[in-house]
Amino acid sequence: MNTKENIESRLWDYIDGNSTAEEKIIIENFLGGNVQWQKTYKELLEIQKMLTSSELEQPSLRFTKNVMDKISNYNVSPAAKNYINKKIIWAIGAFFITLITGFLIYAFAQINWNLPGNNNLIFDFKNIDLSKFFNSTYARIFLMISVVLGLMLIDSFLAGKKNELYSGS
């Protein structure tokens, strides 16, 4: 369809450098022999030229000074990741990894790997007794915090994905 709108849309893509290689060849053919395409192309190029040379608005001369005056009493707080010592983060991480590893070692130590009359290894979950650890209030609070942190992590992960989607990358 060679409607005016369609021609303009394809030509803007061409001018912006967003046409595919095939489309570029087609458009260049049109520009070589079609008067309507040539005329529209010339118009759009002129608009493009004017748009790129259009002027920016200028605020008052005191603009920068006003901004700097306003921020003079304002202290920027560094991001948490900057002011929390990395060693502390690693120590917290190591603590939790040790805790989890300890649980796992304890759990596996409780398993009776060789049941009589069967040479195969049988993994019997009934033999794992973690109830004494998870019955306390503290353990429950710990689990609840872990779940909340997990949800926050998933949320930030999905938000990141959403941004990527919007940015088209």
Partner: protein, 193 residues
């Protein structure tokens, strides 16, 4: 001095406590920020006040700037949200296609320049006037693309839109700009052909 430094280096200095370096960022971006703000808020005084607030917000949020996008892209996101919030609070009309009512192409033409330089200046004024006649969304997308030199992807990030949507909106905005130019500057547009 921070004149020769790039944006990221200046930001690092500010975060290390060299507050005065922020003035360089303000100098670099004030015209862009003010122009974008004026696309939403037609009153110069209000626009200047909002533009200052944008820089103050940016200063306060600098620690959150991760550098995953250009500083300008990040800053224009603040422009967009701050202007929309301002308009909502003030219940401002989100710009009027019909500034047209107050506009006469004859007024514009009367300035009558003859030299090439003046003619060029006159054309630039014409396009600036024509952008003013667009609605805020169209004017903003054109300003971001042509003046603030943001890519379609970056505009998508600023406006929370998909890249393809930005592309379509930009096409439409340019088509409407062309219509305005043909309608209100028919004489000058004819000259271009």
């Amino acid at each position: 001095m921070s004149n020769g430094l790039n944006d990221t280096e200046i930001i690092s200095r500010i975060l290390r406590g060299e507050k005065h370096c922020f003035a360089e960022l303000v100098n670099r971006y004030q015209n862009y920020v003010f122009t974008l703000t004026m696309r939403y808020i037609k009153n110069r005084e209000d626009a200047e006040e909002v533009a200052q607030d944008i820089f103050i917000k940016a200063y306060g949020s600098l620690p959150g700037f991760r550098g995953s996008s250009k500083f300008s892209t990040w800053l224009y996101t603040i422009v967009n949200t701050t202007c929309i919030t301002f308009l909502r609070k003030k219940k401002y009309e989100i710009h009027s296609l019909d500034d047209e009512k107050n506009f006469s192409s004859a007024d514009y033409r009367d300035s009558g320049y003859s030299s090439n330089l003046a003619e060029q200046k006159s054309r630039i004024q014409m396009v600036t006037k024509a952008i003013d006649l667009l609605n805020a969304d169209d004017a903003e997308i054109i300003t971001l693309f042509y003046k603030a030199e943001q890519s379609l992807e970056e505009i998508g990030r600023i406006l929370s839109l998909k890249t393809n949507t930005v592309k379509v909106r930009l096409h439409r905005a340019r088509a409407r700009l062309k219509e305005k130019m043909e309608k209100y500057f028919a004489y000058e547009v004819k000259d271009l052909n």
